[in-house]
Amino acid sequence: MGNVRIGTQGAGIAAICVAVSAAVLFVVLSVRQGVDWDLASLVESIGGDLFTITARSGTFDSESLDRISQLPFVREVGGSTAYSQFYSPAETLMLYVVGVTHNYFQLLNLALRVGHTFGAATEEYVAVLGSKVASALFPEGDPLDGEFSYRGHSFKVVGVLEPFPTTRGAGSSWGFAQQIDNPDHLVFVPYRTHALMVSLPVAGLDDMGKLGFLWGRARDGCLRQAIRQVNELFDGMEEVQVRPLAAQYEGLFYTRRRISDALAAIALLVLLISSTNVASVSATALLDRSKEIGIRRALGACRSHIGRMLLREATFLMLSSGAVGAILGALLLHPIALALGTSLRIGMYHLVFLGALATSGLLAGTLPAVLGARMDPARAISQRSITSRSLGGVSLNRLFSGVAVAAGIAVTVIIVALGDTSIRYLRLRWLSPEPGTLRVRPGMEGFRQPVDLSYDDFLALASLESIDSAVWMASSRSAAVASAHGASEAVLVEITAGASRIGIGIVDSGRMLSDEELTLAHPSVVLGSGISQRLFPDGNAIGAQVDLPQLQARVVGVLASRPGLPPYDYVDINDAVFVPRGVMDLHTSPGRSWIWLKPTADTSADDLASIVVALLAERHPGRGLVEVSEPAAEMNELVAVQRSVSVAQLALAALGLIVATTGMGSTVWLSVVVRKREIGIRKAVGARGVRIFLQFVLEALGTTIVASGVGMGAGVIGMWFLNRNAEIRVILSPNWLFLTLGAACVVALASSAGPACYASRCEAASAIRRGDG
């Protein structure tokens, strides 16, 4: 094997690694760019100069509107009320009604399909309908000038909106009201008219007719100034919040951004690891070229000439491979965008790509440039240079490979830990309900009126033969709860016997309400972690008394803190007080109830679901929408999504690890070339080829194991750092550590097998003769 072949082979492998890494980085940055593009489109569709004004408690009136609209930097201001809802008797539809100012549609760029909006001071009974509401209310006729009835008044339809574009976040809450998705689902009426109808003498509902949510548009380029002026106007009212809409939209993209940021960071690291590979290969190729460098030095090249030449060559290799990667990535964008169903864009983030490529190119060229420039010309000409400097060369090369392997391992360890933790987090959030347990709750689909699940429904379901156990839960509105140490708002949730078996929460201290307490309506309660902390800052909640509305109860348990609000809950369990059903009259909210059903062993979840739907349809004719689901299955779907993200991250980390460990091959090549004379001598004194082979393979393995140890240490430090700063504890299974180490060793063995094999086949005589070269 000629020396040139060593360099060419290594350079080829290194170039492929760089090209693949660059392609991956290019695609990931395109994903990141796509996220921003989507966000920008969303903001643009409404306008970047839009801001919202909200009051945590209290409302705004027409005087507020006037004062804001007179501010110099504010172009226009409008608002909306909270929504009210009603059922259309004929169609059994639930409609969401919002009172809005006359300029609301213009402010939010909501286009009318037909008709017109209403005037500024109107108190007429007119309405503008969202597109889906229009087709639901008037499935066959023309909605324009049609009439519908609401709270005893007949409303005339004066306009119908265009369908809300999906690019504007349809399907996401964007500020109309928390539980309403988009304007397609709304009935818009003049806010003064809305006020006339919903001013009910009921605590908490008396503000329904007033403007709770204001929208403002700043003059061109004056958003910041407009927000400042509005803030100054409400100076002293701490609960008024003025925020640009764009900032609120960013929340919708938080998860996608985080995932793509993480992927980009990993891809960037993989590219850097690839550059260390190029550095190793270039340093190895230096051996082939020591004579050339000596000749150049003899003919007048100074160190900087040689350094620049080698730096240029390595950088060129890096950049040209990176360019190939970029082309490959660009070609893959369209099919990947189709496969992922997401926007992939080329834009400013690709400057990061160029920067990363240039930086890694310089990094890759530095090692060979320094080594080459430091060569002694007289020795280089006689090809003795590398032998005399071999220790430094090999050590540096090995150090580079080791650092690359360590970085690859560290990244893999952290990614695996995060993936594992995310899945644990999901399970904790969903409390790992038993497979097969069904949850029944009022359906929230479309506008059809949901079933108000009553306790009688529960009793009917619980008496089914196919039910093993059943639990009833229903929540109230917020209520004041007090202890000897303080008072706080909490949501009261009534439950029935069997709650502990379906896992409403993990008990942190004390115990769950016993079936006896639940059945006999004993005045005992279990607190969520948040309310427990507020009522009992000293942590001594168990056995203490709490004052509920019209009831004193004893705390028997406190639930463990649960991260986030699971999608199936109406309330945050951390802020809930669980009481036995019947212990007090909770005035539970209609439609905010759950029934948990565990089927008997011989009944499948699907069969039970069919039975439940049929029974409830029979009990509530014409209003048969209930949602029956299996939380364990839903959780598994989420886990599957999380796994997909983890797999993508892991694939990138694995790529980094492969790139890093193939660099070990270059190191072994260097070692073999430098120690050719040693190989010849060993053979001359009787070493068999297999011994020579093992010698080099074991050296590669040793370096990999040491580097892996360092990488694992770095990974553990990274996890410690995450644990200190993240909300959740990052945990890593030792099995993954061993698997990662094993994978690194396998790749290192595979990449070092070639040079080790070459070494084992060297002719002793020629190896001794060519030992210097």
């Binding site: 004579k291 050339e292 000596g294 000749i295 150049r296 030095r297 003899a298 003919l299 007048g300 090249a301 100074c302 160190r303 900087s304 000439h305 002694d376 010309p377 007289a378 000409i381």
Partner: protein
């Protein structure tokens, strides 16, 4: 032109120090053809490397054209090497990936001459050494004698004051060896100094002076009687 004063050169192999040159003092005037002879390992090549600024002495002083060169920076030494010395090696040392023209043009590149001009000069030099029809040939496509002629063309590219030749005929047959020595003699006639390390009796007879080195010391220096 070249003044070596009590030059020592030692190499360290682990804890053992090996003296390659042991107090060499030598004066070489401009345009002199000096042959250096001696047994293998006597320090001839080491001395040539120090004279050609490829290596630095461990002790002693080296004056080139009256200027102390040990104190010079790498850049200054490289510039001197490029402008004042031409190297001819036993194994030719052409860069195998470059054709004849590009090989000859290397010193011109480091002298900062533009590409077009470099190639023009390189072609002229190849014409001068009789390789007009070998411009685009790669080293592997040339005979040993032709390779050495390319090396000589490369050595004189920047019109050096002295050519340093280390066994230039060692790898050549007799005919090619004579041709190479003939070329060097021709250059010498044009005023170029030559320091020739050789075992070849015939080659040393072309010199004006011969020094003999044994164990890193000059043991004799004599003028060659051409009659």
């Amino acid at each position: 032109m070249i003044e070596l004063l009590d030059i020592h050169k030692s190499y360290r192999k682990r804890s053992v120090s090996v003296e390659a040159l042991n107090g060499i003092s030598l004066s070489v005037r401009e345009g002199l053809w000096l042959s250096v002879v001696g047994p293998s390992g006597s320090g001839k090549s080491t001395m040539l490397n120090i004279v050609g600024l490829l290596d630095r002495p461990t002790a002693g002083s080296y004056l080139f054209k009256g200027r102390e060169v040990d104190a010079l920076s790498d850049r200054e030494r490289s510039h001197l090497r490029n402008q004042c010395f031409g190297f001819v090696f036993q194994s030719f040392n052409l860069i195998p990936q470059f054709n004849a023209v590009r090989n000859v043009a290397i010193p011109l590149y480091y002298a900062g001459i533009r590409r077009h001009e470099r190639e023009r000069i390189a072609r002229g030099l190849l014409d001068q050494v009789g390789l007009t029809d070998r411009y685009a040939h790669m080293p592997a496509e040339l005979s040993g004698g032709e390779e050495q002629r390319v090396a000589i063309a490369r050595a004189i590219a920047n019109s050096p004051a002295v050519i340093l030749a280390d066994e230039p005929t060692g790898n050549l047959d007799q005919k090619s060896g004579h041709e190479v020595l003939g070329l060097m003699a021709e250059l010498h006639l044009h005023g170029v100094g030559v320091i020739l390390v050789t075992h070849d009796q015939g080659a040393s007879s072309l010199a004006q002076e011969v020094i003999r080195i044994v164990d890193g010391r000059i043991v004799s220096r004599s003028a060659v009687d051409r009659n």
